[in-house]
């Protein structure tokens, strides 16, 4: 006998993500799901962001990474709440893992919560965690054809940061190609070129954050 099911495979995850979202709404948090390959510069970006936002907006971070990295320790040095989820062999954070970190955070004392996802260009894009936006980092050492190989992540992201542009002269990374490939998959994607080590482009990134935080507050006051 054949029976109709018509159910989304990830509905269990999406339900928990919605619960997270409601909690974030109540606490007026802008929530970003930050994704990239391993080593593209997620933690470095958050270190710089903590520095630049200090005294302006309150940042909080949930980090999911393999057991060996100590990203939360790196971030705690900047006096921001940072919770590390040790994911073991998991290749992405799902809504349930993020939910498990939230009771340990004072969400009402946070303006922008960033979820640093596990380094991987495939799996994290599949699982929403309750974020307002997905954002991603592509570093110039990875190659400009990445958008065409991993279309979902580029398609789902509101912003692509191109990091390590201080190294671009030592690679065959073509900036024009990278931008064109990303825009092909996602015509509306914002693109900012940065270098976390040199500080290039970081003001533009902070401006993006501030703008989207204000937009979020605007939506909340109309809700």
């Amino acid at each position: 006998m054949k029976i109709n099911v018509m159910q989304d495979v990830l509905q269990a995850n999406d339900r928990i993500a919605e619960e997270n979202r409601q909690l974030f709404l109540k606490n007026r948090n802008l929530v970003l799901n930050l994704m990239s390959s391993p080593g593209a510069g997620k933690t470095s970006l958050l270190e710089k962001t903590a520095e630049k936002l200090a005294g302006k907006l309150r940042l909080g971070v949930v980090v999911g990474d393999l057991e060996t990295t100590r990203d939360a320790d790196r971030l705690s040095k900047f006096n921001i709440p940072a919770i590390q989820l040790t994911t073991g062999s998991a290749c992405h954070l799902d809504a349930n893992m993020v939910a498990s970190a939230l009771p340990h955070m004072q969400l009402d004392k946070i303006d922008i919560l960033v979820v640093e996802n596990v380094g991987n260009l495939v799996c994290p894009a599949e699982f929403i965690v309750g974020e307002d936006y997905k954002i991603m980092i592509l570093s110039v050492t990875e190659g400009d054809e990445k958008p065409l190989k991993y279309p979902l992540m580029f398609h789902e992201s509101a912003l692509m940061l191109i990091n390590k542009i201080d190294l671009v002269q030592y690679t065959n990374f073509n900036m024009g190609e990278a931008r064109a490939n990303a825009r092909k998959i996602n015509p509306n994607i914002d693109i900012i070129e940065i270098s976390c080590t040199k500080g290039t482009g970081l003001d533009e990134w902070i401006a993006w954050l501030v703008k989207h935080h204000q937009k979020k507050l605007g939506e909340l006051s109309h809700a």
Binding site: M1, K2, V5, Q7, V9, D94, V122, P151, H155, P187
Partner: protein, 113 residues
């Protein structure tokens, strides 16, 4: 590898749907997977075989129907399939399009006994 987690979810949804019908066995599952999901059917069926072992879906055939990326032009109202991630309308050239297919990941139906 996200195929393992996805296989687990497919199993749970199918078994629950079959139980509701009072079935004793799941024989076949028809899955719809959008091209943008990047699902590798062989990996997925392999993972499914592992997680389904010793459940009522043990040995069930998992069919993965891949759905190409499709778009709708908001400018000229035409519907088309998106080739090579070229996100512009093939008819009028407008980039003002919305995706109508390619991101789904859904169990369509199952066969039980």
């Amino acid at each position: 590898m996200h195929e393992m987690g996805i296989a687990q979810n497919i199993l749970e949804i199918s078994v629950e749907a079959a139980r509701k019908e009072g079935a004793s066995k799941v024989i076949r599952i028809n899955l719809i997977a959008g091209e943008l999901r990047g699902i590798v059917p062989m990996q997925l069926t392999f993972c499914f075989g592992i997680v389904a072992k010793d459940t009522m879906a043990d040995g069930a055939y998992l069919d993965v129907e891949e759905v190409p990326v499709a778009g709708h032009c908001k400018n000229c109202n035409s519907d088309f399939s998106v080739e090579e991630y070229e996100y512009v309308c093939p008819k009028c050239g407008s980039p003002n399009i919305e995706l109508t297919g390619g991101t789904e990941l859904r169990i369509k139906d199952i066969e039980i006994e």
